[in-house]
């Protein structure tokens, strides 16, 4: 599975994207977030603040309870600020 990071989360994690092989027990966006937080302390910091880390699964906004089954790409990013 491909994981992508945008804006300042990319800087916190130190990379724009990576390929990961998930352990079987990681079944939702929330579980993936927690798993990545274990690898990147500064990602964990961001996740500790409410509403600061948003996610998309296969380019669709997704909440923590969104299942990962079949997903090819998961992205994490701060709230959007375009326009």
């Amino acid at each position: 599975m491909r994981i992508r990071y945008f804006a300042w989360l990319k800087q916190r994690v130190g990379r724009a994207e990576e390929e990961v092989v998930l352990p079987n027990e990681i079944a939702t966006v929330g579980q993936l977030k927690a798993w990545l937080a274990g690898r990147y302390p500064r990602f964990a910091e961001a996740c500790a603040a409410t509403g600061v880390v948003k996610a998309a699964v296969d380019q669709e906004f997704a909440e923590d309870d969104r299942p990962l089954a079949g997903a090819r790409e998961v992205a994490f990013f701060p709230p959007v600020t375009g326009g």
Partner: protein, 157 residues
């Protein structure tokens, strides 16, 4: 109906000159242009970089635009959003709508920019004399977008 992400400067006046041109069923054209300001929160802004999520951005913009067409009787709609690094005074985004009567054009234009601001994956990085900083999302943008929320399955999140 057009949605475009552009990496080079664009000219809103030129785009508007071409928008809905030659259509005599159009009675109303509304537009909104967002530009880089030279000041934000009391600090001078030297430049602004717009990052986005290629693929998802286009998908979200197309969805927002389709939602606008579903809600209002639009004869045409245009969304252009720039990405990359730009300078104060340069346009970031252009939204234009065309309809027979003015209410649809005005409301759809406000809707498009309000939803774009909260539902399209763009992020702003400002360069100031003291360094670069990511722009924080504003509660007022969420409030503006929420005005247009409806509890319907067709509504994009």
């Amino acid at each position: 109906m057009t949605v475009r992400i552009v990496e080079q400067p664009f000219d809103p006046a030129r785009e508007l000159a071409a928008f809905a041109r030659g259509r005599s069923d159009v009675g109303a054209v509304a537009s909104f242009t967002g530009l880089v300001r030279d000041e934000h929160g009391g600090e001078r802004i030297l430049a602004m970089t717009l990052e986005h999520y290629p693929g998802m951005t286009e998908r979200q913009l197309a969805r927002i635009e389709a939602e606008a067409r579903a809600r209002w009787p639009l004869l045409d709609a245009l969304v252009i959003h720039r990405v990359g690094r730009m300078l104060p005074g340069e346009p970031i985004v252009l939204v234009a709508t065309a309809s027979a009567h003015r209410a649809a054009a005005l409301e759809a234009c406000a809707f498009l920019i309000d939803w774009l601001k909260t539902k399209a994956p763009f992020w702003k990085l400002e360069e100031t004399p003291t360094g670069a900083r990511w722009v924080e999302a504003r509660a007022s943008d969420d409030a503006a977008a929420a005005r247009w929320e409806r509890r319907e399955p067709s509504s994009p999140r």
